[in-house]
């Protein structure tokens, strides 16, 4: 082996060592605002101000590094005891600073970002709207905590659950059109939302086409006219649907509806690491529907 070859191998070895032992190297990452963050060591004290980010950190195996969350973070069980630091609009700056976090994770719309940054904290802004975003967020956060392979492991688990869920959907329901109501205004989850993406993975259709946007406010008449085969919504809303004018004619309300309790519903509307679990929950409801002739 000549000298050049040897030098090349040495270089490869150094690069490989650098990426597998990031604790020694500087971590550089770009968040969803485009801001570049540099960390000399993987953050050990993390504050998360969004439930799906809390869940992602835990799913990547770094739950013990969380020192505080927003008030809505309630999963997994172990984060319930952490200090609750307010919500998107009213995060408690003083308490967050007092926790001396190495990094704060927040959504784009969080009002607290500028304030925290001016106080010298690292705020990594992440926003997940689609399945692809969830995957991207997972690898970003995995990089942040210094465990890049965890992202693939997490995504594989989500994919596995998605496939299991799809297999559970009865053949006679495949391709049927779902109306997924996210709010009684009514707002629907369209085909381009992450909920719509999950439904598509389950082999289901959607009464709201992608061109209407992820969560459009619909004219209620549209739903009556569309005659969805299946209705999904929070349980309270499903129960109230038959009382809406004209909605008693929805065939889906007779044995083709999924009314989710609050906890289940929360699972469905968070674009995060439990998406696979959410798909399974939807599939379980679909599987409980009997074949109609």
């Amino acid at each position: 082996m000549n000298l050049w070859m040897r030098m090349l191998w040495a270089l490869v070895a150094v690069v490989a060592a650098g990426s597998s032992a990031p604790a020694n190297a500087q971590t550089v990452l770009r968040d969803d605002r485009g801001t570049i963050h540099r960390f000399d060591a993987p953050p050990q004290r993390i504050v998360s101000l969004l439930p799906s980010l809390t869940e992602t950190i835990c799913a990547l195996g770094a739950c013990s590094r969380l020192v505080g969350t927003d008030r809505f973070s309630n999963s997994p069980e172990s984060v319930r005891g952490l200090p609750k630091l307010g919500g998107l609009e009213d995060a408690q700056v003083e308490r967050i600073v007092a926790l001396r976090p190495d990094v704060v994770l927040a959504a784009k719309s969080a009002r607290v970002i500028d304030r925290l940054e001016s106080l010298g904290l690292h705020v990594v802004v992440v926003e997940s709207q689609t399945h692809a975003d969830v995957k991207r967020t997972a690898s970003l956060l995995a990089q942040l905590i210094g465990a890049p392979p965890e992202a693939d492991r997490l995504w594989d688990a989500i994919e596995r659950d998605m496939r299991r869920a799809a297999a559970r959907v009865p053949v006679y329901l495949r391709g049927q059109r779902v109306y997924f109501e996210v709010s009684s205004a009514p707002y629907a989850a369209g085909a381009s939302s992450f909920i719509g993406e999950t439904l598509a993975r389950l082999g289901m259709g959607n009464v709201v086409p992608p061109e209407m946007g992820p969560f459009p406010k619909l004219n209620p008449e549209y739903v009556v006219r569309a005659q969805p085969d299946i209705v999904m919504a929070p349980r309270r809303d499903v129960e109230a649907m038959a009382k809406r004018p004209g909605w008693q004619t929805l065939r889906a309300l007779r044995g083709r509806s999924c009314g989710f309790d609050t906890e289940r519903y929360e699972l469905l509307i968070r674009p995060g690491p439990r998406m696979g679990e959410a798909a399974l929950a939807m599939a379980d409801c679909l599987a409980s529907m009997k074949e109609m002739r």
Partner: protein
């Protein structure tokens, strides 16, 4: 802000002119109400298409789409607007204040607080309220809760102001009750965030789910409130000359004020229970009427009801049609339509 006094006494030289304007306004409102009602039947989730309407009416779903959904929605919007317009005219006459609106005396805050309580009932169980209370609350439903909440809000205001003797005291009490109940509602949503979505729907106002049962309730309310209010109109005329003058005319002011406050609360409570807090209609409808045709209160009250109805229905038709099959929040359009028109009227008057 220069606004016409609540009741402009007709000067002799333009009495004829004013009468013509009043007649013209009534005519215009009637024509608009009919035209917009037709539009309300035609415009749906397919937008403005006449062809789609014809095929709907001749199709198998005619009764469902037009009869059960669009017709009651159209009539309901008209009557909710009328109730709000009427309540707004009463409020502005009663307080001799052009900024008064139907939500002033704690009814809006009371209604939204009650709605939030119902929405949060299941989460609050075991923390703040007992299981039985929670079950009761969720059985009441949002409609009844909003109505009761609006009335309770106004009742609190009346208690705080020790009756309706003093207008200013009443206004102040209303503001305080509004702030306190609003804060209480926010506290509940902080504890139980899943009530937030439902609260937002209520706060924005919506005409989407008005059915025939709503229409009958609203019609009954309007049929009771409108004649009684118009009968009390002369008191508002007297009030516009000041409390002392009104009292010297031998009017039992406290009692009549109380009656007007109660009527206002009933109209407002009924409207918000069916559609949530539709913004601006109650504030702007009386202004539009007075700007165009200054008149004694018997006219202003009835015309404000008409104006409110037309305004809300127009907003509803636009909300359905502009980006069909999606909808805009109807409250946004009432503000744009009513506010825009009022601005134009103010501008024209100053120029002319």
């Amino acid at each position: 802000m220069s606004v016409a006094p609540a009741s402009t006494h007709v000067a002799s030289h333009d009495a004829h002119d004013d009468r013509t304007r009043r007649r013209r306004l009534v005519l215009a409102l009637m024509v608009l109400a009919i035209a917009l009602s037709v539009a309300g039947l035609v415009v749906g989730s397919q937008g403005w298409s006449w062809q789609a309407f014809v095929s709907d009416v001749s199709g198998p779903q005619a009764d469902l789409i037009v009869g059960q959904i669009r017709a009651p929605r159209t009539l309901g919007a008209l009557m909710i607007g009328a109730l709000l317009g009427l309540a707004g005219a009463v409020a502005q006459g009663l307080f001799r204040n052009p900024l008064a609106d139907p939500y002033l005396l704690g009814s809006a805050a009371g209604a939204s607080f009650a709605v939030v309580l119902v929405l949060a009932a299941s989460t609050l169980t075991g923390h703040a309220i007992s299981l039985a209370t929670a079950a009761l609350l969720s059985r009441i439903g949002i409609v009844a809760a909003a109505f009761a909440g609006a009335l309770v809000g106004v009742l609190l205001t009346l208690m705080l102001a020790r009756g309706a003797q003093q207008g200013v005291r009443l206004l102040l009490a209303g503001v305080v009750v509004g702030v306190v109940l609003g804060a209480a509602g926010d506290l509940v949503t902080t504890i139980s965030p899943d009530a937030l979505r439902g609260k937002q729907v209520f706060m924005l106002g919506s005409t989407g789910f008005l059915g025939w049962s709503s229409v009958w309730v609203l019609l009954a309310g309007l049929a009771i409130a409108l004649p009684i209010t118009c009968r009390l109109a002369r008191v508002l005329d007297a009030l516009s000359l000041g409390d002392d003058t009104a009292a010297s005319l031998g009017l039992p002011l406290p009692r009549i004020r109380l009656a007007l406050v109660v009527l206002m609360a009933l109209c407002t409570g009924l409207a918000v229970s069916q559609s949530g807090l539709v913004a601006f209609v109650g504030l702007v409808a009386p202004h539009l009427v007075r700007r165009y045709a200054p008149a004694p209160h018997s006219y202003t009250l009835a015309a404000s009801a008409g104006m409110g109805g037309v305004l809300l229905l127009a907003a509803d038709v636009l909300a359905r049609g502009l980006i069909a099959p999606q909808e805009l929040p109807v409250g946004v359009l009432t503000a744009v339509l009513g506010g825009g028109y009022l601005l134009w009227l103010l501008h024209r008057r100053r120029v002319g």
